[in-house]
Symmetry: C2
Subunit: 303 residues, 2 copies
Amino acid sequence: MDITIKQARYFVAAAQTGQVSRAAVDLNVSQSAVTTAIRDLEAHLGVRLFERRSKGIALTETGSRFLPHAEEILAVVQEAVHVVSEQQTNVHGKVRIGMSYTVAGYFAIPLIARVRRRYPGIELELTESARDTIEAAVIQNELDIAIILTSNLKAADFLDHTTLVASQRRLWLPSGHKLAGRGDLPLSVIETEPYILLTVDEAKKTQVRYWEEQNVSPNVTFETSSVEAVRTMVAAGMGITVLSDMVYRPWSLEGQRIETTDISGGVPPMMVGVCWKANTPLEPAAQSVVDFLEQTLVDRRTK
Amino acid sequence: MDITIKQARYFVAAAQTGQVSRAAVDLNVSQSAVTTAIRDLEAHLGVRLFERRSKGIALTETGSRFLPHAEEILAVVQEAVHVVSEQQTNVHGKVRIGMSYTVAGYFAIPLIARVRRRYPGIELELTESARDTIEAAVIQNELDIAIILTSNLKAADFLDHTTLVASQRRLWLPSGHKLAGRGDLPLSVIETEPYILLTVDEAKKTQVRYWEEQNVSPNVTFETSSVEAVRTMVAAGMGITVLSDMVYRPWSLEGQRIETTDISGGVPPMMVGVCWKANTPLEPAAQSVVDFLEQTLVDRRTK
DNA sequence: GATTGATATCAAAAAAACAGATATTGTGTT
DNA sequence: AACACAATATCTGTTTTTTTGATATCAATC
């Protein structure tokens, strides 16, 4: 009548390890328990979640759509269990939070929803806008905190910050591309392959920066501000790109697979963090939010 | 090792009906199944979720904190199951959404999180601000849609809308108040009892409006813009108020109980809806979001 | 075609959930 | 104080589900 939390947990473990047997070891149960849990889950949902391969399993397109939901189930359950053991959080007040667009879309909103449930006494006021605008607003006390990319803070002297996640940048390739599955390619491959450049937020500026540092000039054949467009084009074999794991999904909207490969020679990860006005103590409510975000993200795998 | 979805479902049913036996009937299981599920859940969490009373059960403070989380678990599970059965939603584009503060805090954010998971190809841009500002922005094409109180739209001629929820307004009383448990009191009781007035957003204006319609002049002893402050003051016996179920919680932050009573003679419910520029077809992405919101809210109890 | 490294299947055992009957509890009434 | 009433709690046997451990199967590679 219903899927179970256990099924979700086994599914997530299997998806993350890419192997039923390894997931079983991690979960301290037998391999057959995981296999049957996944089989029952698939039967219940009426879809195939994994492709069975000789080396393990790989998410189907449906499976990769289901994965974030399954993770969300586990997160929500954990949070529900947690909330009752905490003594009442009496913090209240208003916290004004700024987020840049990509961060909001791929990262912050689910966290914000959790903050709201956790601190019912705190009123949150959210704003999405460009990084520069947000930095300025924090400095002018128009925002209390900001969740933004912290790698290249402009007003770094006037802002304190902590990092929430460091999301690895990897090379995105269409499935079956000649470079796929090699691992540890040098960044210079983007000079010979057609390159799709994402221009949203400060993605372009960041990329240009580390190209220059490594003296690489990519062969840009298309620029777009839409992550989905990049995904579609890469999947269609129109080019390759380098983007962070935070925005990576293994399938394009059209259902074609996208692979990733590590890049050797140090492409910096994308740093997302929370920042606030330097040398100014935060209001208790804002401090609670910052603490919660740090704490929540500590035991999260960098994905 | 884990709570189960079934336990969450039974708990929610019991909390909503206020009776284990009634919940059991609704769920088509035996009363003992519900009782043991709740007992196991309480044992697992190590807290008491209900007070057992002769007429049924009532949430403890901890239980009422747990309830929204349990509901969230069920919602997330339902959504996870739903997402795999849908064929791929290819909609993409950008949708700019405006929300007023109260709506964002108590209603919209969890929905927005769901929209994001449901339509990964849609980029959402969120803005919170005052109702007037949002209406203007929609008309000037600076926002695509707005989630706001629709009872008193200012620019109603230029905006189309559909209602998402109608949240009943009820009288809030401290536990043990002489008027508690009576049911169907006339609105005129607020003339004799000290009244706490919420001033956030347009709450004040709305209240004044239906006071005038019914020729009632309340005995306002305190005004505040914080819902939590209202809750605390009512719980502490400093006055009573009339607010919608959307912002109602049975316990104050300090852990004191708040009761509600129906009001006879037609206090209008709070209408929350989504609106967009009249006579202008919505972009497909925005249309999808509107459709999703309507559809999601249809089978939700008006709480 | 044998080996390796993975998943799938099967049957028995263990654990969990359920229904139905009964006990208990708390309120209000007489 | 005893009783009736209306609810929840507990107990027991049964059914269902999950797990395990052993074995079968499959695909790639040597």
